[in-house]
């Protein structure tokens, strides 16, 4: 008798699994829209540009790419992935484009093409609120620094470390971990994009972080990455960007996410 009950249970569980998998398949009917699909990659750990809220990807970049897609007639689908994997994914065609608060750099231009810049960010140094020692980007020599892997903040830390070998650099897959390390006292400073650091301080309860010194590396401009051989998409995205800037959509998105 006991055996039958067991068998029954296993059977019921298997059935439930199959039904739920099939159910997933049914709930995403394709072919509804005639628009061409545009698969865009991002790393949703970078508010206010992109983050996850209630199972949805939200933020400045997300609204911008949807607005551009709307203007150019694309069905935009956004995918979350590792920041450092975005450029290889665009390069190999796994995704059509990447929008992730990604600065246009010479290294990245070796692998992908970028649209016109859509945001001018700049870097800032953040320290723990009890730190009196570091007053700006010139005081980082010989300190322990943290940044997100593959960002220009990390690149800046590496440059400091190259000039002064006593400087230690730690990198993390997302910038929240770098801030955690800073609050824990594991590092002395985090070098990161200014709007994101500011957002962290403003939105995190009891954040023990402050920014010091001026915003620097002012040539830190964000672009949307596209495969080098995809000239048509590059053209469309640039056109779309111009349209949303001209009709005021860009300013609305800017006001909503950046001017907090």
């Amino acid at each position: 008798m006991k055996r039958y009950i067991k068998l029954l249970l296993v059977g019921a569980l298997t059935l439930a699994l199959v039904v739920s998998v099939v159910g997933c398949g049914n709930s995403t009917p394709g072919g509804q829209s005639e628009k061409p699909k545009l698969v865009v990659g991002t790393n949703a750990t970078f508010p206010p540009f992109e983050s996850q809220e209630n199972n949805e990807l939200v933020g400045f970049d997300m609204e911008l790419i949807r607005a551009i897609g709307e203007a150019e007639g694309y069905d935009v689908q956004v995918k979350h992935m590792d920041f450092k994997s975005l450029v290889p994914a665009v390069k190999t065609g796994k995704i059509d484009a990447a929008i992730a608060g990604m600065s246009i750099t010479e290294e990245r231009l070796e692998s992908v093409a970028f649209t016109d810049a859509y945001f001018n960010a700049g870097l800032v140094v953040a320290v723990r609120d009890d730190n009196q020692d570091i007053k700006g980007p010139n005081d980082l020599k010989g300190k322990k620094l943290a940044a997100q892997t593959g960002t220009i903040g990390a690149g800046y830390c590496d440059k400091v470390a190259k000039k002064d070998s006593s400087t230690q650099v730690r990198t993390y897959d997302d910038v929240a971990q770098a801030f955690m390390e800073l609050e824990k006292g594991g590092v002395d400073a985090v070098v990161n994009d200014h709007p994101v650091t500011l957002n962290y301080i403003l939105t995190t309860e009891k954040a023990r972080v402050k920014t010091v010194g001026d915003v620097f590396s002012a040539n830190d401009k964000y672009g949307i990455a596209v495969a080098k051989d995809n000239q048509k998409l590059l053209q469309d995205l640039n056109d779309g960007l111009k349209k949303v800037k001209a009709d005021g959509t860009y300013d609305q998105i800017y006001a909503k996410w950046i001017d907090q």
């Binding site: 450092k84 450029v87 290889p88 390069k91 290294e107 990245r108 070796e110 692998s111 943290a146 892997t149 593959g150 990390a154 690149g155 730690r170 990198t171 993390y172 897959d173 971990q177 955690m180 390390e181 824990k184 006292g185 594991g186």
Partner: protein
């Protein structure tokens, strides 16, 4: 003589043509860093397994204890570390629990977490090793007038030791691969070194291919060592 010069010329021209490939150049250029990373990987694995063996011995014996309290303690410990992903343990302990106890550095945290994790697996290895020793051995030792702990120390554990060597080496290999998860907390082991090169050069096939090859060399060397130990310890 002609052969030697011929093959030398071939080898140098082969390397020259390989150096035309960007990915290959990047791998060659970063090889010293990868080697240092491999060394860190080995260090963390060796220290963690060494500590894990001490933990595992006590937890394994605890699992066989008649005291309900000790048995419960060992069970909770083993269940937690075997029943949750190492990746979650790393994040939980590094950012959550260890900072409450001391000002935790990356390297020491890495070893504590890996030792706790591997201790739980080793505990099960120890327990099954002890249980694999014939029951009659304990009875014989007790009938010679030894008490339980003496029989454990002088009769059972020396025999169990032999049985647990192969699975211990497997655990060593498993942990060596699992230390790659430590890259999440910026431990400068092999995978994190790969991460950094990949994040700046975008050559996944070459960078991760080279990293995989280095792991393979390390695990293969360990398993050859394990086979050797198994043969040496075989009694039948």
């Amino acid at each position: 003589m002609v052969w030697i010069t011929g093959s030398l010329v071939f080898a140098t021209s082969f390397i020259d043509s390989m150096m035309q490939i960007r990915g290959f150049r990047i791998v060659v250029q970063h090889m010293p860093s990868f080697m240092q990373g491999a060394l860190v990987t080995l260090e963390i694995t060796a220290l963690s397994v060494a500590l894990g063996m001490i933990l595992g011995l006590f937890a394994g014996l605890g699992k066989l204890s008649k005291s309900k309290f000790i048995y419960g303690l060992a069970t909770v410990y083993i269940d937690f570390f075997r029943g949750t992903p190492l990746f979650v343990q790393i994040l939980l302990f590094y950012f959550g629990i260890l900072p409450l106890i001391y000002n935790n550095g990356v390297f020491s945290s890495a070893i504590i977490i890996c030792a706790l994790n591997s201790g739980a697996y080793i505990a099960e290895i120890v327990r099954s090793g002890i249980q694999a020793v014939d029951k009659g051995q304990m009875e014989a030792a007790r009938s010679l007038g030894m008490n339980h702990s003496q029989a454990m120390r002088y009769v059972i554990l020396p025999q169990a030791y032999k049985i647990v060597i192969p699975p211990l080496i497997n655990e060593f290999i498993a942990l060596l691969k699992d230390t790659s998860l430590l890259s999440a907390i910026s431990v400068m082991e092999l995978t994190h070194r790969g991460d950094l090169v990949y994040a700046n050069t975008y050559e996944p096939a070459w960078v991760w291919g080279a990293v995989a090859l280095i792991y393979l060399v390390m695990t293969k060397a360990l398993s050859v060592l394990g086979d050797y130990a198994e043969r040496r310890l075989a009694t039948e």
